[in-house]
Structure formats: structure tokens, C-alpha cells
């Protein structure tokens, strides 16, 4: 099967549009259901294996409009309920179908802050597109309206036009909020509170803002310039950004409230300590957490061996352990960094894989070799402690566990060896311990996740939290949803604080 070019997909869409526009009557649901789902144009696998550029290149105008015309505009709009920030999806999709792209982005911006990001990295097939009536009618979620791709199209159109409008800022309230971490949760809180007229300072430990969008998600899935532009927009709104500042160490959280004049703090410090398998050989040279591997390649830009000072370990045969999006990112990054063989090892089957279908398909197209129902039990090294082989065990699926997934059961005596020089462990994260270690009275659960109430408030007065530090490993859009909820609660709380002068006098 040859890879369809963007031009070919566009031509097909144009032809179909011409045909539909020639129809004198309004489109019936039956007409809409007959419109072919629009495929996302992408770089050919053989080409993209050798570059860092974005894999999916985005719909053409004709494709976006045609895809939007597939929407049945059903009254109950189940898609909206599937969206963590409840974007008015039928309304923005209708605008695109009508050719009113500027209206479409305005609708999205009513509730979502990062459409260009979410259009790319949201798991739409389990959120808005999962309950889509069209997908249900066609008995295939992959044939639902591609809401995410349309969202991305209008967001990109807006950004590339240079017409991004800065939202209106309400008059200054004199209140000051510290946001710890500049990932999806943090930037959402910052934007929402700044809009309400509060002073906002974001503290970021890294030298560049964006959190997981910068260090974790690779360039080929989310170009860094898009994240940078979103952050630039925040700064243009008057949000202050302090990089190389690690709250808990550079300054304690409580000091921000007690001494530095902040009225509230939002903790959005994200995922922390990488989980390892706890198997022998895991500290050999050539074993990495996916966090480290991706941070070196993405944030530190080690993919450019000539210019970057941060080195990448020279890998020929790589094994990635895990089945989530991060595992796919790591495997696909290893392909691009020139590994001869990249193996993905997962102990269940593809059906149970938490990774998005699209990422799995992309990884396969790029030559990642999938090993299902297998897991590493031991990593073996040479005399210099460098990884040489990995011992694996085969599994079969047993009875469903508490999560409803069928749990893998090892097959006795099925051990075998795999020749590898690099092992990347991508099985998730524990929570970051820094804030907990340095903040007295902050309640966390046994996993170290910060405990919050329904308004995102922590056990400490005027301290709120959201994103992965509360949820564990979640998604960009869920973190944004949490951030939005926290921002609303913080805004309400700030409104109830006694006026500043009185508060000072009361001290």
C-alpha cells in the first residue's frame, strides 16, 4: 500500500466538495454519513524515520471543511460531555463546515486555552470522539467525526495568520498568585487568573517553560514552536515567568505566602520519579527511564549531536518496556536517533495497550518491532556493566483484574534472551517528592499525590494543586480541566479575602 500524499488527499477532498456544493438541496444526515472520513496527511514512514519534523502535517482547507460537514449536529451532543473542558464542539464544527474558521476558533477559545496542542495530543478516540453519534451509526469509533483534527486545523490557521488575539484583562485586583510549574495545568491556571486581573508569576525549574509539552512530548508529535507561542501569549498577557527556580528549594512554598506577598499558590509540578521494574540489572549502563531518554532528546536537544552539548547514549539495538504513549514516543525517538532495531516489549496484548491507536500505528509504520505478551525479567551486562542482553518471559492472558483488563500470567519455563544494548523503561512515574519534602502540613496519599478537595484546594490554606501531581499520570487536557477548576476556586477565594490593608494591619 503506497502512502497517500497530502496533495492527493486534498484533491480528493476538493472533488468531493465540488460535488456536494453542486447539490441544490441541504445535506441530509444520509448525505453526511456518506462523506468519506478524511485521512490525516502525514510524512511517509521511510522519510520521517530520518527526521524530527512533525509526522502529521494537518488537513488542507478542503479536508477540514469536508470532515466538518460529516457532523450530524445532533441535539444531545454527546461529544461535549466527552470533552474534559466541555468545548461547544457542534458549534465550532458547524462554523468550519460553513467556512467560518475565525468563528470556530473563537468558540474553542471560550473554554480551551491550548487548541493547537490539544488538537494534536488529546486522546480524542476515548473522549469527544468516543460517543460521537456518527461513529456509533457507522459502528466504528475511527469513523467518528475527527474533531481533534478539525480543532488543530483552525488553531493552526489562527496561529499562522498572526491573528492570535490576546484576551481582555480585567482591571488589576492587587492580588498575586504563584503558579508552580509551567506545564498544561500551570499555564491554564495562569491564563485564567491573569484574565481576572490578578498578578501571576509562574515558577519553572527548567530553563524553558512548557513542562511535559517541552521535555516529554517529542517534536515529531508536537512542534516546540507551538508551545513557545502559547507561552509567549501568556507573557504578552502580563504573566511573569521565572525559569530556573525550583519552589521547595530555591524558596519554600510557605515563604511565597508568608514573606513574598503571594495571596495563593497553585502546585502543578507534574509527574516525578520514574518507575522502574525492580528487576536485576536495571542500573546497568544503557538502561534509561523514558523521562531521561526523552528529556535528553527533546528539552536538551541531543537529537542534534553536532550542536547539543548533552550526549545521547550510542544505541544500536533498543528495547522499550511499556505500552503507553510515552513508550511509543521513546521507541519512535530511538528510531529517529538511528537505532538499527527498536523493540517494544509489553506484557499484555495490543488491545490492552494504553497508547493511542494512532501512535501505535505510527510506531509500526516506522519499523518498531512489537513483542506482545512478553516482559523483561533480568538485564545482563558485559564486563563494563554495559547492557548486552535482556532476559524475557512469555505471558498469556488470564482472568480480568480489578481494572477490567485481563491480567497477564507468566508461562513457566518460557524464558528467552534478546540481544540489546539499550533498555528504556516506560512504565510510568511516581509523584515528584520535592514540594512534599519541603512543605509542612501538605497532605498527600500513599503514592505521594497531593490530596485536594472538589475545588482543587489542598490541606493548606490558600494552596491549590492540579495536574499529574494530583491525578498521577493523566493527559494534557485533564490537567487543563483541573487547572481551570482550580483557577475558578482560587479566583473565588481571592474575592473573599479581606482587603489588603486590613489584612496587613491584622498581622
Amino acid at each position: 500500500m503506497s502512502h497517500p500524499t497530502a496533495e492527493h488527499l486534498d484533491q480528493q477532498a476538493r472533488a468531493k466538495l465540488t460535488e456536494l456544493d453542486a447539490t441544490a438541496r441541504a445535506l441530509t444526515p444520509k448525505d453526511r454519513m456518506a462523506i468519506p472520513p478524511q485521512e490525516m496527511p502525514s510524512q511517509a514512514p521511510a522519510v520521517r524515520r530520518g527526521n524530527m519534523q512533525e509526522v502529521a502535517t494537518g488537513y488542507s482547507a478542503a479536508q477540514a471543511r469536508l470532515e466538518a460537514m460529516r457532523c450530524l449536529q445532533c441535539k444531545n451532543a454527546p461529544c461535549v460531555k466527552g470533552c474534559p473542558v466541555a468545548i461547544d464542539i457542534p458549534r465550532f464544527v458547524k462554523a468550519v463546515a460553513d467556512g467560518r474558521n475565525a468563528d470556530a476558533i473563537a468558540v474553542i477559545r471560550e473554554t480551551s486555552l491550548l487548541p493547537a496542542v490539544c488538537g494534536r495530543v488529546c486522546p480524542q478516540e476515548t473522549q469527544c470522539q468516543e460517543p460521537c453519534t456518527l461513529g456509533k451509526a457507522l459502528k466504528n469509533v475511527d469513523r467518528s467525526v475527527s474533531i481533534g483534527r478539525i480543532e488543530r486545523y483552525v488553531a493552526d490557521l489562527e496561529r499562522e495568520s498572526g491573528q492570535m488575539r490576546a484576551p481582555a484583562i480585567k482591571p488589576a485586583t492587587g492580588r498575586k498568585v504563584a503558579v508552580i510549574g509551567s506545564g498544561p495545568a500551570g499555564v491554564t491556571v495562569a491564563a485564567d487568573l491573569r484574565r481576572e486581573g490578578h498578578d501571576v508569576v509562574i515558577f519553572e525549574a527548567f530553563h524553558k517553560p512548557g513542562g511535559v509539552l517541552i521535555y516529554g512530548i517529542p517534536e515529531f508529535r508536537l512542534p516546540k514552536r507551538i508551545v513557545q507561542q502559547e507561552v509567549d501569549a501568556l507573557v504578552a498577557m502580563g504573566v511573569k515567568l521565572e525559569t530556573n527556580y525550583v519552589v521547595g528549594r530555591t524558596r519554600r512554598l510557605q515563604d511565597l505566602l508568608d514573606q513574598d506577598g503571594f495571596d495563593a499558590v497553585f502546585v502543578g509540578t507534574g509527574a516525578g520519579l520514574p518507575k522502574f521494574m525492580n528487576i536485576p540489572g536495571e542500573n546497568l549502563v544503557g538502561v534509561f527511564s523514558a523521562n531521561e531518554y526523552l528529556t535528553r532528546a527533546n528539552l536538551m536537544r541531543a537529537y542534534d549531536g553536532q550542536r547539543a552539548h548533552t550526549p545521547m547514549y550510542p544505541s544500536r539495538k533498543v528495547a522499550v518496556l511499556g505500552g503507553g504513549n510515552v513508550a511509543m514516543d521513546a521507541a519512535r525517538m530511538a528510531v529517529r536517533l538511528g537505532a538499527e532495531e527498536v523493540h517494544l516489549v509489553y506484557r499484555r496484548t495490543e488491545v490492552e495497550m494504553p497508547a493511542r491507536t494512532e501512535e501505535v500505528a505510527h510506531a509500526k509504520e516506522e519499523g518498531v518491532i512489537f513483542h506482545m505478551l512478553q516482559n523483561a525479567v533480568r538485564i545482563l551486562g558485559d564486563a563494563n556493566d554495559c547492557v548486552q542482553k535482556m532476559e524475557c518471559l512469555r505471558y498469556e492472558l488470564g482472568a480480568p483484574d480489578a481494572s477490567g483488563r485481563r491480567s497477564p500470567v507468566p508461562i513457566q519455563g518460557s524464558e528467552f534472551l534478546m540481544d540489546v544494548d539499550t533498555v528504556i523503561v516506560a512504565i510510568g512515574n511516581e509523584s515528584n517528592p520535592l514540594i512534599k519534602q519541603t512543605t509542612a502540613g501538605l497532605v498527600t496519599d500513599k503514592y505521594g499525590h497531593i490530596t485536594v478537595d472538589e475545588t482543587a484546594k489542598t490541606s493548606l490554606s490558600r494552596v491549590y494543586a492540579g495536574g499529574d501531581i494530583v491525578l498521577g499520570a493523566a493527559t494534557v487536557i485533564l490537567a487543563m480541566g483541573e487547572g481551570r477548576r482550580a483557577a475558578a476556586a482560587i479566583h473565588e477565594m481571592l474575592g473573599k479575602l479581606p482587603p489588603k490593608k486590613q489584612a496587613a494591619a491584622a498581622k
Binding site: T250, L273, F276, N283, P311
Partner: protein, 285 residues
């Protein structure tokens, strides 16, 4: 931000910088470190221990040896130049209490981070003996500062060019054999030195702290690159350390992990010296 306010070359490849970093200067405690980066876009993040700090002046003192590209580029900075990023103070501070007799052992560049620990141990009311060592006299650093801070200073060199011709483990063993034996030993230096200090004190059952300087990327508990095996368990130097019980650390594995990028480092080291030489010749011409 992060302006270099003073610079001194201590030996062929060792430099002492005072850097403006008021928040870090105020918060840092003995035993902590910073992560620096010399180029915002392409720089590597490298952990360096804090040798001293002046909270009043808002400066921290960094003493470093030129090893890879970053430390070479850092050494090229002059007074008034800025360092792109200085993050910290990171890691758990040294546990300071009144132990009684404390022996602090520093080797090579490890003498620098040992200094604030010596000061803090002394301030807590301990009797502090210091052993400092280097390959030769020209590589020995901070003897004067140590003499001011400690009750006793023993200097050794591998080649006998200064002080006693011995390895640091020899006077350490002698002190351990004294009565009463020391209550606590702190050893900071090359991994091999720390390993043998731990082996020296092990038969005496003396608590021995070592400060590990592993490869790090973020330094805040996210990447796991700094992990070491301590007592059979994986620990993270950046958030659990940098100090650990020397009797529990798997030094052999740590030393091998430190060599992960050795090939690249050697090339960079050589390349940096060529570039430094070239720029010197150019400025002369």
C-alpha cells in the same frame, strides 16, 4: 543574573568562581549543589557542588575541574559574564549534629564541597579533623580555608610533593585506630577514594557519609539518570542524596555508570583544549 563576580584559577584544570545568586546563597545548606548550564539553547545541565556562599553579598562559590564541554566553557567565562542557568540549591542538606569527633576527608576537587560541611560540623560543637589529599602539590586546594575551619588538618599527596606522601586512607585508618574512635566520617572526592574510605572505616563500624556526584539531567527527581544502588535499593542522588551511607553504596556500579559517556567526554575535552588554545593564539595575534 548569575553574573561571575570573581574568578581564580586554582590549578591547571581547577577554577574558583564566585557567582551572583542571591536566592541560592540565602537558602543553601552544607552538602547541597546547583545545576548549571552555559548555553540556554544547546547547553548541558551539569551538577556542581557549592563550596561556599555569602548570603549578605548574595553570592555562591563554585569550585570545579574542567572535565567535559560545559566545565571548559564555564572556565572561559570572565568576571562580569553571566552563566545561562544556575538552579538550586538542590539535594538534601548534610545532617549536622553534635557527634563528638568528626573526621572529614577530601580528595582533589572534593575538598571544595567538604569545606561548608567542616564549617557546619565545627559550628555544631564537634571536634573536626580534616584530611585533604591530591595527586601533587599543584592540585591541592583550600588548605588555608580548612586550617581556619578545623581543629586539625592533615595534608597528603600521592607523590609526596607536599605534606605526607600517602593516600587519604592511611591517616584515616590511623585516626580510626585512636581512642576514642571518631563518631562520624564524611568523605568527598573521586568515587574510588570514597569507596576506599568506606572500606577503611567499615571494620571499625564508624558511620561514613559520602557525597555522590553522578550524571544528572533535571536534578529535581524527574529523570532518574542519577540513580545509584544503596543497600540493594535504587536511590536518586538528586532528591534522596547527594549524601548516603558509604558502607551501603555500590561504588563499582556507580563508577561504571559515570563512564556512560566517556568517549564523548574525552573527545570534548581534547576539542575544548584545541579551541581554547586557538582563541588564545587569536587574541595574541
Amino acid at each position: 543574573m548569575n553574573r561571575v563576580v570573581s574568578k581564580k584559577q586554582l590549578s591547571a584544570e581547577v577554577f574558583r568562581f564566585e557567582v551572583e545568586a542571591p536566592l541560592i546563597a540565602r537558602e543553601r545548606r552544607a552538602g547541597q549543589f546547583v545545576i548549571i548550564q552555559v548555553d540556554q539553547n544547546w547547553g548541558e545541565r551539569v551538577p556542581l557542588t557549592i563550596a561556599d556562599a555569602d548570603a549578605q553579598a548574595g553570592t555562591i562559590t563554585l569550585i570545579f575541574q574542567t572535565v567535559g564541554r560545559t566545565t571548559h566553557l564555564l572556565a572561559e567565562k570572565n568576571v562580569g559574564d553571566s552563566i545561562a542557568a544556575v538552579l538550586g540549591p538542590l539535594g538534601q542538606p548534610t545532617h549536622i549534629e553534635r557527634f563528638g569527633h568528626v573526621v572529614c576527608v577530601g580528595g582533589g576537587i572534593g575538598v571544595a564541597p567538604l569545606h561548608p560541611i567542616v564549617q557546619a560540623m565545627k559550628a555544631a560543637g564537634n571536634q573536626v579533623s580534616v584530611i585533604i589529599g591530591a595527586r601533587n602539590q599543584s592540585l591541592l586546594i583550600m588548605e588555608e580555608e580548612m586550617r581556619r575551619a578545623a581543629d586539625e588538618v592533615i595534608v597528603v599527596t600521592d607523590d609526596g610533593s607536599y605534606g605526607r606522601k600517602a593516600l587519604v586512607t592511611q591517616p584515616l585508618k590511623e585516626l580510626c585506630e585512636g581512642t576514642p574512635k571518631p563518631a562520624c566520617v564524611v568523605a568527598i572526592g573521586p568515587p574510588i577514594m570514597m569507596k576506599f574510605c568506606a572500606e577503611t572505616t567499615r571494620p571499625f563500624g564508624i558511620m561514613t557519609l559520602v557525597s555522590l556526584n553522578t550524571i544528572m539531567v533535571d536534578g529535581t527527581g524527574m529523570c532518574g539518570g542519577c540513580r545509584v544502588t544503596v543497600g540493594g535499593k535504587t536511590r536518586f542522588v538528586c532528591v534522596d542524596g547527594p549524601e548516603f551511607d558509604g558502607h551501603q553504596v555500590d561504588f563499582d556500579n556507580m563508577m561504571k555508570r559515570l563512564r556512560a559517556y566517556k568517549g564523548r567526554e574525552d573527545v570534548d575535552h581534547h576539542q575544548c583544549h584545541l579551541e581554547i588554545e586557538a582563541s588564545r593564539l587569536q587574541s595574541k595575534a
